[in-house]
Symmetry: none
Subunit: 227 residues, 2 copies
């Protein structure tokens, strides 16, 4: 799996060269040309590392980092700063940045730094985060949070457990008994009625994306379908 990098930089010529180099290095790059674009992207995509220019035409890199840290406290952030002001560097580090580079920087050095951080986050964070992407939704099981770029929905534990079980068996038919065993811990006729209610609720939460559907297989169970 390629590492996915978020690169926010408004300078066209610099970003072209950098992006080209990083892609050539084998990374998948998502590039934003300003802060507000970045703010949208971080809501709906997942990254392994971020590179933020501090100086941006609209929302500055610090603000982007601050927002980003609300979603994720683990993913490394590297700041690019034109001036080498001590205050800027300290401010960045306090915001949860992991490093900064002063422009102009050497691409070779940037790549080395990226590798350092990616190596390290693999060591310290071997378990993949319990976040799933489902259509336009992002589902964070640990935080019981189901969000789209527009809004955010807080789930209950059971709702989240059920949704997770469905996602982990996406496009597969799940028997009622299997769902009840897995999510409720026991299989019982009356719990089946509860399951119906929960399915109904999840359907409502997921109706913002027409490619996502929870289908019923009559007499058998359910299937979370994505197309």
């Amino acid at each position: 799996m390629k590492a996915h990098l978020l690169y926010v930089e408004d300078d066209k010529s610099l970003s072209f060269v950098t992006r080209d180099n990083l892609e050539h290095q084998g990374y998948r790059i998502t590039h934003c040309i300003n802060g507000s674009e970045a703010l949208e992207v971080i809501k709906r995509e997942q990254f392994d590392l971020c590179i933020f220019d501090v100086m941006l035409p609209d929302v500055d890199g610090f603000t982007v980092a601050k927002e980003f840290r609300k979603f994720d406290t683990e993913v490394p952030i590297i700041f690019l700063t034109a001036k080498s002001l001590k205050e800027d560097r300290i401010h960045g580090l306090k915001l949860g940045a992991d490093d900064y580079m002063t422009k102009p920087f050497s691409i070779e050095e940037l790549i080395l730094k990226i590798e350092v951080f990616l190596r390290r986050s693999k060591i310290t964070n071997p378990k993949s985060p319990i976040r799933f992407r489902l259509g336009k939704y992002l589902f964070d099981h640990a935080n019981l949070n189901l969000s789209t770029p527009e809004e955010e929905k807080q789930l209950t534990q059971k709702e989240a457990d059920l949704l997770r079980f469905l996602i982990e068996n996406k496009n597969k038919v799940l028997k009622r008994s299997a769902i009840l065993e897995s999510v409720w811990g026991e299989d019982d006729y009356f719990l089946g009625r509860s399951l119906d209610v929960f399915i109904s609720r999840l359907r409502k939460y997921l109706q913002k994306d027409e490619h996502i559907r929870i289908e019923n297989i009559h007499g058998v169970g359910f299937r979370l379908q994505e197309d």
Copy 2:
């Protein structure tokens, strides 16, 4: 558990100040005044982080790092370099360094960098960082002090411990059991009632900033939310 740092530096006056600062910050420091001494020390002691000056009277910092990496590939290494030569920096990074700082450096910045790496290695330092910023509040855990520009509130040890745990896991859902384990040391139903009381107190202390909220996740736990 205090984090144990290896600091190799020959400049007497600089190393005295740095060491003093780092110890005051709550770290345990082993200081070597030259490379060969460092080579001995790394064979018999264990460290959580290394700080190597590149220029040393005998064996240079790069060589020390190289030797050190034979024993340990995980522990972060920060180089201190007098000149800001690109080649030096790249050489360091290739040797398995994680970062470098150019002399003269700000001690505040060094401490922040150390924090960044230790945080990733999950080594928690009881005294660090001394202060957290939370909305309009400034929280000093060591001094049990929570202050706004207007007023100041003295916390109790438990209040401070709890607040710190919440801050360190800001915007994340924390299970009751996890909080009790971490702050009280044991997970027990009746302590849960105590936790409720403490949450309630913290809420009162934090009500001056409407962007800060301690939310309850029914049946799960709590989340300190900042927006």
